[in-house]
Subunit: 212 residues, 2 copies
């Protein structure tokens, strides 16, 4: 009977009771900790024990909020997708499509540097399957994907993005940069600041490796 994501997306008209707000606050805390652990270790290596310890609650209590580890991961990913969408919505729409895409990728990589990127897109089939059978997740994925696709289309029509490749190729390429391992490699080398590495990523993504 957890309130869960249903109430997330459609807040009731009536004000929440103190207990409900406390419950939701705890749920947010769980998702925050889950994001950290998922980012650090990935889905399989994040144990519910570790998560409970990180949040400071008992393992059993996790299951009052989320019915399984998979559903918890789905909630974590859903929240991320909603945030991505929010980033796109709040952007100044007078900016060029390319600069909006760059700005989104910058935000995403900053989130990742801060350890808040669950990084599930790159994991295995069983998790993917669990995600895709979660209605909230697929809805959020569709919404964020559509918003991003629209931006890519705009950029292509405006002549800012190349037109000799199919739009999905550009879309997935941008999407994949958010979980690109080169980000970790470059950060691990310790030679550059996070912001420098982010700008490197943007440069190689949009302008490629070849000399122009």
């Amino acid at each position: 009977m957890p309130l869960s994501s249903a109430r997330h997306r459609e807040p009731p008209a009536a004000p929440l009771s103190f207990r409900d707000r406390q419950f939701l606050a705890r749920e947010e805390a769980i998702l925050d900790a889950a994001n950290q652990l998922l980012a650090q270790r990935g889905f399989e290596l994040m144990s519910m024990d570790d998560l409970a310890a990180a949040v400071g609650i008992a393992k059993g209590s996790l299951y009052k909020h989320f019915e399984s580890k998979e559903q918890l991961a789905a909630a974590s990913m859903t929240r991320l997708l909603r945030r991505i969408e929010a980033q796109l919505v709040q952007q100044d729409r007078k900016l060029s499509a390319r600069s909006r895409l760059e700005s989104l990728l910058r935000w995403t990589l900053r989130e990742r540097a801060a350890g808040r990127m669950p990084l599930l897109p790159s994991t295995d089939q069983s998790v993917q399957q669990a995600l895709m059978s979660n209605a909230s997740y697929t809805a959020a994925l569709s919404d964020a994907g559509n918003a991003l696709a629209e931006l890519v289309e705009d950029g292509m029509q405006a002549g800012e993005l190349r037109q000799d490749l199919p739009a999905p190729v550009l879309l997935f390429t941008i999407y994949a940069r958010s979980c690109d391992p080169s980000f970790d490699f470059l950060r691990a080398s310790g030679e550059w600041s996070d912001e420098q590495v982010i700008e490197f990523m943007l440069a190689t993504c949009f302008d490629g490796l070849a000399r122009k």
Copy 2:
């Protein structure tokens, strides 16, 4: 007692007995199957049960060849790195650095399409740690990395690759393309052939997303 990678790297002068050759052939079969499973599910989700079943031998026998799952993964990665290096060595050295890099990436993505890429670079710390404490692996990694770095340097000096970014940025960017999830996304869409997707990857990698 397994012959293992030591004999791999320095074959003895004496010819191998029939039993030894059989043993090594089985070891190769294990690594082939391991590559497939690692590619499909990743390290954590590949169980030794599955692997033994795929090879058609008993689980216990695996431990006569490799002392642990981690060492087995290290052997798999080592073999891959040696093959990458071999690709570089056998290339026509009169070709431009850029076309040699493209050709290497093409080979790598074809290997991946065929399910032969263990994809371990993107996994967690515990595996990475186990790999880095394996001498054969670190040697192979160093060799392949140096060969690749040399090629990148050549390309930059020849003016084929951009010079406004540090060389390691270019190197890691190319390296990361071999485990780029966008490859899977594009293949899964079913709209293009593997070869088309590979060329898309090369195009976005070297020329970027922006219109030139």
